[in-house]
């Protein structure tokens, strides 16, 4: 069954007809071309599909698009305020060599943006806990934590 949903995605209002069983990952990727939203497990285990829904990080692969009706969605594609200008979290990932294969990167950046936006300060151990829903096989998380420490207030 096709349902009409309205969402505010990366600053733009969209109206879409989607299958009621469709995951938000599939909608964002296949209907809106937002391919930064990665599919690593489609079961909510790896965090590669993380997006912000009303500012909160969500595994979009286990979130139905129909549930997002009326909500605001942000992906990595929507982070640049001006063309060519990276968001501070993105810039920190570049500067700290926190990117290797890059497959988990967009999801981790969205969690990083959520953490940065919280205005809270965190210890490295607390940051470990906050990103523990993301699997990364390349970096050992070391430089990702270094990047987050740069942009999140340190305790």
């Amino acid at each position: 069954m096709i349902k009409i949903v309205h969402m505010h995605v990366n600053g733009t209002d969209v109206e879409l007809g989607v299958d009621e069983g469709e995951s938000l990952t599939d909608t964002l990727r296949n209907r809106l071309g937002l391919t930064s939203v990665k599919k690593g497990c489609e079961a909510g285990e790896c965090g590669a599909c993380t997006i912000l829904l009303d500012g909160k990080s969500v595994n979009s692969c286990i979130y139905l698009t129909v549930w997002a009706d009326g909500h605001t969605i942000l992906t990595v594609e929507g982070l640049q305020r001006n063309p060519g200008e990276l968001h501070p979290v993105q810039q920190a990932f570049v500067d700290e060599a926190a990117v290797q294969c890059g497959f988990c990167t967009p999801g981790l950046i969205m969690t990083g943006v959520e953490i940065a936006n919280s205005g809270e300060t965190y210890t490295r151990e607390e940051l470990r806990e906050l990103i523990s829903g993301h699997l990364c096989r390349c970096t050992g998380y070391e430089n990702i934590l270094n990047a987050l420490e740069k942009v999140v207030g340190k305790k």
């Binding site: 990727r29 937002l34 391919t35 930064s36 990665k38 599919k39 690593g40 497990c41 489609e42 079961a43 285990e45 790896c46 590669a48 992906t75 990595v76 594609e77 982070l79 640049q80 990276l86 993105q90 810039q91 990932f93 570049v94 500067d95 060599a97 990117v99 290797q100 294969c101 890059g102 497959f103 988990c104 990167t105 967009p106 950046i109 940051l127 470990r128 806990e129 990103i131 523990s132 829903g133 993301h134 699997l135 990364c136 096989r137 390349c138 970096t139 050992g140 998380y141 070391e142 430089n143 990702i144 934590l145």
Partner: protein, 780 residues
Amino acid sequence: MGIGQGVQKTDAVQKVMGTAKFVEDMIPQNALHAKVFHSTVANGLVKSIDCSEAWKIPGVKAIITCFDVPNVPYITAGHPLSFDPNHDDVRDRLILSRRVRFFGDEIAAVAAVDPLTALKAVEAIRVEYEEYEPVFTPEDAIHAAHPVNPAYPTNELARLDFSISDSTVTWGKAAFSTEQNIAGREDLQSDHFSVPAVHAAHIENNACYAYMEGERMVVVTCNQVPFTTRRNIASALGIPLGRVKVIKPFLGGGFGNKQDTLYEPIAALLSQKLGGAPVALVMTREETFTCSRTRHAMDFYTALELDENNKMKKRAVRINSNGGAYAAHAHAIAAYAVTNYFQTYSADVVQIGESSTMYTNLPSAAAMRGYGIPQLAFAIESQMDDLAKQRGIDPIAFRKINMMKKGFLDPFDHFVVESYGLEACMDKGAEAVNWEKKRKEYDAFNQSSPIIKKGIGMAIFSYKTGVYPLQVENGACRIILNEDGTAQIQVGATDLGQGSDTVFAQIVSEILTIPESKLSVISAQDTDVTPYDAGAYASRQTYVSGGAVKKAALILKDKILARTAEVKHCAAEPLMLENEQIVQHAGEPPIASIAEIAAFVQYCNDHVLQTEQLTAEATYTCMSNTFAFGACFADVEVDVPLGKVRVNKIVAVHDSGTIINPKLAAAQVHGGVAMGVGYALSEQLQYDKKTGRMLNDNFLDYKIPTSMDVPEMETYFVETYEPSGPFGNKALGEPPLIPQAPAIRNAVLHATGIAINKLPLTPQRLVEAFISAGLIRAED
């Protein structure tokens, strides 16, 4: 910038912006989607397939079964072509299998308008099997009534046996055995070490799509070795190489698991059946676990006899490797391991190696970061600590007596160790963890602490760079200079995240003085236009492909200088490059800029000058090998009643020769440490003992380390200069993983006094060992 600088990764910005395109991001809108029917028995024969219900589902476009595929077995291993019959790969795969070899084997495939329709159709297919008794271990496999591959009646894929004396190897032929004595000798009684199958668990699942351009098959795939995959696809379909084009876009990690040809021939055959329509085949996470490749499970029987000075007299090893259902890399991995046993250390009197790889009815094992050496290092380095403990000698001192030294002549490949930082790595690590003080401090602490125990352990390794002389080691590079002094670099070597593209830009920058910001490395490989390279494996790319980049850059430099001499009417001889300019002597005012010369010789229309687009292309043949070295130190805490190991800190020290990019090199080590911690503590593929079905084919049940599981880490490099490397560099990609598991195991030994000889060190395994050793009493 150039060599030795922490240059920013060339693709970092694309990756943080989410614009880097991976295979699944590029699938055409109009593509059909394929799903595979997997066998539900581990050993058997497909008697019949009924697809009639599947065909009734609207949207199904094509169904192929094991009765429709070419009956010509092909190679899946990602190795370069070999003319040596001893090193040729085994042809034992058909696109779909009638003779089913593992639970999950590919029997049929459906292409439909979307993935869900394809899946529904797969579920409607009915298969009748003739079932045979499956075998899951090498011990069972040797006596199988129905061998996995009928061409190998004993299930033994291959073996490698030898003895070494005075650096001379004598090849022998032993029989499969799990006895404690090696080579039938009573004096070689062995210890037994065992490591399980584990998975690369890259976050991007294996994926590909295929379509036709006229008569030509195009396959876009996340594969580390596009040129070899092109050969394997052509061979599977029975079409000429020139009719196949393989494109490799950005890769979401591979670690060796994307070195083999997997579903590309299925997608290609479906596309062929559909007149060339695009067909996508993206593995689910569960399929990636079961149907790609695993790291080999291995059993080690190791015997070691010391003289009164703790010097090794006799040393022997037997390796039984579980190869799984298809040959893939056959015995290459166990052979790598058995030979390395006699490289890191050697004995004076007796050295005997035996090794066997067996077919079993489990998922196929093949390359994974370290290629057999992480398995071996667990056995070797565990045994070293057990013996040091027995003899009451410090584990570092014991290793130093017996380990490889500078000038070592490799008895197998006959090269001499020139760059050697092993001892310095150990010293640096010992200093960083405060080895002697901490060992004593923890000994004292453990005396009075029955519940929490602390330990510090270490392990070392040696690891070859590339695979010369077993296989050809070559690669090619093309550099195209633009009229504004910028350039494109094309390489067949593949970047899967490790940063080889960045390193290649640094090499060109070093030689041409053009900053990396003006150089574009074409990250995607397209076998139609990309120069050849064997691809990413064996930590070879900076060593071998880097040599090609250096060679091409030097040719281009010579061309630039020669054309400058011609245009500016001066001698080419003293000319040199400096800051993108051509100068006669260092520090002098420039004669011209690279950009001016490039523009002039390309566009000059004076009716005299022969114009030229300044480009260079070179193939580099590497005819050498060298060892990278390293030492790992692990500081752990063991909660005895819980059997829980907490790694507090890892210190990793590496000798990888010259470090081309310190930032990316350290990042490489971080990832290896994390993967090694997983190998040590939590990772293990589990199978139903009756059916062979994988039980933990997902990230919830297969535990790779999260950010909570990874310890604090310190990384150091002991820089040596390796004369055979293009800039003194040698292997770095795989080594960081190798010594972690034994270092952690040895730290647990130090903490508790208990030697665990089987990975991973799970709480269950530790508690059982602690109970039997009396550390935990039943009444507790």
